[in-house]
Symmetry: C2
Subunit: 375 residues, 2 copies
């Protein structure tokens, strides 16, 4: 076992556990901030840690193009390069490459694509993706897969899923076992139950340190997403971590945890932070809105992040309107803190057998709406 | 005396002193980071303080347009608004308005101009500028003046200087004395000795808490700038602080301190930080340059800032090339730390009577060039 995982308590289908990596322990359910280009945008590594994040995600596609995986390896690996000493999960590059649309060509062996930076040609195969992720020194390596768009016909979804399963097998063959590092497989099959079950079983056959549910958050909506979890998760082994890729909004996280998901990643908190959008207990708040321009109150009185404890809504509004970097810094920090506080809340609720109550209160508060503007 | 100032030690013309404001003591010579729009770009207030900065500068022109001075007053003043508890100096808006060129119209009473943000019309007079600065709650208010371009004829320079002196008188009339707050006059007269002396004497006649040298760093060059200081400073009283506005490069600071300047402000460290340019003991370093792409060494091994202690040149290069916000954050921090360390070095040298030696070593090191690239 390369990546020890234990489920320490359960509440319904939800689980609280620990995943042990070479770079530290991760309490699950966990949310991984996205560090696309070897930086969680607008955050110092020390600040990421202060939000409560225990693991971050790096993007193979971006890093292989710039600054290059072998360069990062020569500089001591991704942890050393970006000054993040905690665990790192890397995606396989598959998702980004597939979303290039016109710039890529897929065959059974892999995919050829052009860089969005300089137009140069590159090729990713399962073997190459794993090689790059090993060069980066990733703690959790993801199998190379094809992520299908939504909607898609069952026939195309099956063809793609079967390709991803062949690639999963080749990913496993290329991966080198080492204590504290692991490889996750990715269940595909769009919204079709038989395909999801078939995919999950195929991955179990190969054997992975964890299992991800891929191909979601592509426009299918909250209900369909939960539907896929309900059909997929029962097939996956209880003693391995389960990772819902690229998800999501706070309510997606709460519901997915209730269905038994242990890990998440998403650009929402960081990307929204750079555009003036904040997540709070009372729902989303757009700091760009003029209603905040004279408001001396904190964004969220219950939040302990710098944006909420040191500044007013009026100031945050001013920063966002002025396009100031500090606005992006503060709102990114706040959003990541909100996501981490939410995960901590979920973990504590599970431990105390109160997840249902937690989820009810969460949904109620989210719908209560932002505080009334100052007259 | 609204703003107590004491010269605690001297070395030649250079002085080490303390300026006491309502918001704290400033050790001089001091460098003030520029916080144009109520934020020192890409820096948290706590980080500004960590660099050693004791006072920052705010821009009246920018703040009156957005978010508006009365709004800031209603929100508790600029200190409260931007979360900076230390002293603040505000400029008068004159310099920014004058640099609008086509968008402004000057008369003896003041200047009418159009906002660069939304094209709306505004008017600044000495009375209005002082009123705004008082609304902001600035510790050090600057008299409203006209800043002339370079080169300029002696006739035009005289006309402009005499206007600035009339405005200085009106600024003084409008200022309201309060303990811990003060008003500075600004010497004008371009590079003409008789005008500078005449201007300085006119200001002395009016009486200010400190005296600034304005109209420099507009393209006249280092030697002419020092020439103006040599003709101007002897006229100014030894027991008042002297502020060289908008300056400058590290060598300008060292030479100006040797001539008896106590205070500086400049956008160079912050603006350069956002474009990948770093100031170091061994001169300027352009992190955008490919020579750094594989370099595991710190930007400056002697610097204690986060950029230098936690990251490699290769990483900083990567951030700059990728246009990442963290690059701006780290290099701004580094540059401000470099400037503050330089000022601290100057203060200690003066106290120990070793300023000449300090300046020689400084110039020698600056010329030594950056470390050789890794092969």
């Amino acid at each position: 076992m390369s990546l020890p995982f234990s489920v320490d308590s359960t509440d319904g289908l939800a689980r609280c556990g620990s995943l042990i990596t070479k770079h530290g322990k991760i309490d699950t359910p966990t949310f991984m901030p996205v560090g696309t280009a070897a930086t969680v945008k607008a955050m110092m590594p020390s600040s990421i840690k202060e939000t409560g994040a225990q693991i971050i995600l790096g993007n193979t596609y971006h890093l292989m193009l710039r600054p290059g995986a072998s360069r990062i390896r020569d500089l001591g690996g991704l942890h050393q390069f970006m000054g993040w000493q905690g665990p790192i999960l890397t995606d396989s590059g598959g998702y980004q490459v597939m979303s290039l649309a016109q710039l890529r060509k897929l065959d059974d062996d892999g995919v050829t694509f052009r860089s969005h930076i300089d137009g140069s040609y590159h090729r990713l195969t399962p073997e190459k993706s794993i090689e790059i992720q090993l060069e980066l020194g990733s703690n959790i390596v993801m199998a190379f897969d094809e992520c299908t768009p939504f909607p898609i016909s069952e026939e195309d979804a099956e063809k793609s899923m079967l390709l991803s399963m062949r690639w999963a097998e080749r990913s496993k063959q290329s991966f080198e076992d080492q204590a504290g590092y692991g490889l996750f497989g990715i269940v595909q099959g769009s919204v079709f139950e038989s395909l999801r079950v078939q995919s999950a079983k195929a991955l179990l056959e190969i054997g992975f340190d964890g299992y991800a549910v891929g191909g979601l958050a592509v426009g299918e909506g909250h209900e369909k997403m939960m539907g896929v979890l309900k059909m997929t998760l029962p097939v996956l082994p209880a003693d391995k971590p389960r990772y819902l890729m690229g998800v999501g909004k706070p309510r997606d996280l709460v519901a997915a945890v209730q269905n038994g998901i242990d890990m998440f990643d998403c650009v929402l908190p960081t990307r929204s932070g750079r555009t003036g959008q904040a997540f709070t207990k009372r729902g989303e708040v757009n700091l760009r809105n003029a209603r905040h321009s004279n408001d001396p109150r904190p964004l969220d009185a219950d939040c302990s992040c710098p944006a909420c404890t040191q500044f007013s809504r009026a100031y945050l509004h001013h920063l966002v309107k002025s396009g100031e970097i500090l606005g992006a810094m503060l709102l990114t920090w706040h959003n990541l803190k909100y996501y981490q506080d939410l995960m901590r809340g979920l973990r504590e609720a599970i431990k105390n057998g109160l997840l249902g109550e937690f989820a009810s209160l969460f949904n109620q508060e989210q719908k209560s709406g932002d505080i009334a503007p100052i007259k």
